[in-house]
Amino acid sequence: MADNNGVLVCGEVAEGKLLAITLELLGGGRKLADELGESLSIALIGSGVKDLAQEAIAFGADKVYVVDDAALKDYQTDSYAAAMDAVVKSANPRALVLGQTSMGRDLAPKMGFKLKTGVSMDCIELSIDPSSKALLQTRPVYGGNARAIFSTGGMPQIATVRSKAMSALERDDSRKGDVVPIEGAVDAAAARIKVVSTVKEEVEGVKLEDAAVIVTGGRGLGGPEGFQELEKLAKTMKGAVGATRPPCDNGWVPAAIQIGLTGKIVSPDVYFAVALSGSSQHMAGCSGSKTIIAINRDPEANIFKEAQFGVVGDWKQVMPPLTEKIKELLAG
């Protein structure tokens, strides 16, 4: 075990591009590798992904392991785990870092149990213990009410990282690195589970993850009509509409706009929190916002402990004039 060396990032690709989280992991992984004085590598697993190797190098990787196979077009646990296993055998890293994404949530524990080592999910910070070189993994627990720092006995030490917890480096096309193709890792016939179809539930307008302004509504909106009012403010500010879990569970809005621990993680400049209480699980998804503005009729609501600005009042009376005034200010 003593020869485990370096940091390996699990890359993710969608629509022919490296995901933002992958660039973030390369940025964070670069720092860890430099601290260790070791190398940073990335696994690119998928179909038609080898063309992205140079980009991964430009964003910080020293070495790119490519498992390019038509059978890996869509994420599927068994075949991706086989591909990842082959990369880990070849790279023999000290740390394996994945994104806390749909894929990372599924693949990281799978790799941990397969490789008989520990995993920390949804970390917000990774650091190196200077004396032991151990990877210290900080993650929110108890719905965000507490933080825990873990270390792992086995190798590699595996962690997933929450989106926006690390920052990407500037792209530098002059960086050099090696590309290592890995062949024969995947046996499509061995895959036990089958993805029959993929259904996209498109949300119109600005994507939540990219929006500079988000107007989020909670259970206190009382129904889908409330969200139409929020839509107006979002439109005025060229932002997006989000929701806490109850409106999604109640079918007032699509599940894809849920923000929080088990929904999307966002960090806009401006976050309007309307008729939501500010539960720790919700705040887990939006506490990285630059400015949080709360509108709630209960002065004791926890959201007022999280926000920078607030109005205590009924959203029905506050939102229309607020939207009007903001429209006027932005026009003038």
Binding site: D78, R105, F113, A148, R192, C248, D249, N302, K325
Partner: protein, 272 residues
């Protein structure tokens, strides 16, 4: 159809954040006084998923399995009152303070002892440590396929058809039985326990299994494989993040005045 649902007892995750306390010296959460523990919410949804299968296939047997110490009977029997058939508890101090690894290992050994299963259901993550690993671990120990974060689970013709939630929709997955599925809240509200169910649950006695040889009321695990001793991760530190409360409440004669004042204040502060 034999279904096993893994159900964890956790401190109520919806308790007000202000009631949450950590004992930093002991690296432990101090249970808030007067707040009863609950079944981890996603596990209740896993029970609901099992019951929906049973609604259609009457000859389905649902066994729920819980690991912990000092499990509160009224809490941990809730799945029975919702309609599950049997309850197995791994209840012993030696099972305590495990991590995902040692917990999944003990649960997988209990499942082997239960013996017959077509489908195992877990929650997507337990509402205390929010790990989301134990389901995958059980499947790996048992050597069966695992599908995570499901919003719909149907079984028939020797396979399970699962809708798995993704970032922008869902995918439809087929897995051969037996398999393990972890369930998410998109499945929908769990049913309420009817009075009849509560009365029936009160009469049912859980099976309680301890670590041991695998005979009688024991599962075949050695003491160093389970609980705190079987961990592969170490909790170095548990603490509460400090929050600076500094909300500026904008006021006005009427709610509309306050709204206008807020807009102006946001402009002044260059927020908008």
């Amino acid at each position: 159809m034999n279904i096993i649902v893994c159900v964890k007892q956790v401190p109520d995750p919806e308790a007000p954040p202000a009631s949450f306390k950590v004992d930093p010296a002991a690296n432990k959460v101090v249970p808030p006084a007067g707040v009863a523990p609950v079944v981890s919410p996603f596990d209740e949804q896993a029970v609901e998923a099992a019951l929906r299968i049973k609604d259609k296939q009457k000859d389905t047997k649902i066994v729920t399995l819980s690991l912990g110490d000092n499990l509160v009977r009224d809490v941990i029997k809730k799945p029975l009152s919702m309609g599950a058939d049997e309850l197995v508890l791994l209840e012993d101090p030696a099972f305590e303070e495990g991590d995902s690894w040692s917990t999944a290992y003990a649960l997988s050994k209990a499942i082997e002892k239960i013996g017959s299963y077509d489908l195992i259901l877990c929650g997507r993550q337990a509402a205390d440590w929010d790990a989301g690993q134990v389901g995958t671990g059980i499947a790996e120990f048992l050597g069966i396929p695992c599908v995570t974060v499901a919003k719909k689970v149907e079984v028939g013709d020797g396979k399970a058809t699962i809708e798995r939630v993704t970032a922008d929709g869902y995918e439809v997955i087929e897995a051969p039985l037996p398999c393990l599925v972890t369930v998410s809240n998109e499945l929908g509200e769990p049913r309420y326990a009817a009075l009849k169910g509560i009365m029936a649950a009160a009469k049912k006695q859980p099976k309680i299994w301890k670590p041991g040889s695998g005979d009688g009321d024991t599962i075949a695990v050695s003491a160093d494989e389970i609980g705190a001793k079987g961990r592969v991760t170490k909790l170095e530190k548990l603490f509460q993040p400090v929050k600076e409360a500094k909300c500026e409440i904008v006021e006005g004669e009427t709610p509309a005045d306050a709204a206008v004042a807020l807009a102006q204040r946001l402009r002044e502060a260059k927020v908008i």
